[in-house]
Symmetry: C2
Subunit: 234 residues, 2 copies
DNA sequence: CGCTGCCTTGAGTTACATCAAACGCGGTGG
DNA sequence: CCACCGCGTTTGATGTAACTCAAGGCAGCG
């Protein structure tokens, strides 16, 4: 977890949050930020902790989830480069984080502490608009998940998770879209046991819809899965 | 659906949105609004329609839900007096409503059309902050539902729905908190069949946790249900 | 005082979780 | 190059919560 303050963004980097600022504001913001490197399984924020840090994933991947009363993780979404978290720090409401986030891959982030966030809020009149865009995004995504597949049968849920994940974190290999996901990660995201996930994946592999390797999945085409996710044989 | 433009709010009326404005801004806003009366089963907005109206429920009750691909409603939350909807109209993103809302009781609302909303946005610098608060509220509520009970067994879900509903729309009768909810409304909100809902309610009535009448439920105390909602016998 | 819509009950079915037990891929070190 | 080890993966047997469907009861309204 080294840190330095010369913030340089990777080429082609896009962020709803930063894009909502003027170039001038952006410069101010970057100057005030601290960059940190993160490692696998590192907890980036924990629900219930006081919100004192606004941050932005620069590289890597994180899992955003909520802890249920019985203790298990309810997966909400992936955290991807460009996504912003800890918004409560700036909104001031609620005063604590409402979700837990941990790193699935090593990577880096850009962070503003409480003081820096507040200074930023004063300096950047567009910041509220930018925040709105980010929050509305979250909300839209969640509602979409909820309404579209959260309560459908396991098979359709898993298909949807694969399709979404392919869009969000798929690489283009020459045999199709490649995904670095273990059965377990998929199972968590689709809210089922590893057993069920395995069976479905295996079935699809038999049908030629996908190819599995250890911790990696290759999808020649998304259309079949999209079909499955809408419901079978209609 | 009569309409007039002299907007008078009921005494004791609170709204996260309006409270985020200065008194002066509030006055401007109210002057620009149209008041309408609404009747049962009236559709107040429909997902997919172009977002051209920002509105505020003044009296009555509405159900906010999303339509799944297979056509059934996924209940998201109750719409209560003071709640604001059609935020996309002002945010400008997305440009369409993302949820469907219809009235469960007759009541009234206060609406701003697209032009009025935009004028409002220009006139009120605090409006972005107010919107932030509202959207963050929505988001928090949804995440809370998702993380806390959306994926628990039916009995716990139903218990939670009852507790939440009691807080949101309970009246204080002399035998306890009274709720105007049919079995079917509960079933929809807790995502189960009417049959399952009936069985659970009946069971609780046998245990003396609640009393049922046609379309109405009386809860002498919330604590038992709160116990059930956390999971049995732990 | 009948009728309509809400509510209740039971029997049969299904999807998915749970559990126990191995298998095999891919890295490591000999 | 081969043997080993560990984790991600696979399989089948079994249990169960909750849905489906069919049918009947009953409250409250007109």
């Amino acid at each position: 977890m080294k840190a330095n303050s010369a913030a340089a963004l990777p080429p082609g980097f896009r962020s709803t949050f930063l894009d909502g600022l003027t170039p001038r504001e952006l410069k101010t913001a970057l100057a005030a930020a601290r960059q940190e490197t993160i490692s696998r399984h590192q907890i980036l924020q924990q629900e219930g902790d006081r919100a004192i840090r606004l941050w932005l994933l620069v590289t890597g991947r994180a899992a955003v989830y909520r802890l249920a009363d019985n203790g298990d993780k309810v997966f909400l979404r992936w955290g991807l480069p460009g996504n912003t978290f800890g918004l409560a720090t700036i909104l001031g409401f609620p005063d604590r984080y409402i979700v837990t986030i941990d790193a699935v891959q090593e990577g880096s982030l850009l962070a503003w502490d409480l003081a820096a966030s507040q200074k930023l809020a004063l300096r950047c009149p567009n910041l509220n608009k930018a925040l709105n865009a980010v929050v509305a995004n979250y909300l839209g995504g969640l509602i979409n998940v909820l309404g579209t597949y959260a309560f459908q049968p396991a098979e359709q849920r898993l298909a949807r998770v694969l399709v979404e994940s392919a869009h969000q974190l798929g690489r283009n290999g020459h045999e199709g879209i490649e995904l670095d996901l273990t059965n377990e990660q998929l199972a968590v995201a689709a809210r089922m046991t590893v057993f069920t996930a395995t069976r479905k994946l295996r079935k699809w592999q038999g049908l030629g819809i996908l190819t599995k390797h250890r911790g990696r999945i290759v999808l020649p085409s998304l259309s079949c899965l999209e079909g499955v996710s809408k419901g079978p044989r209609t």
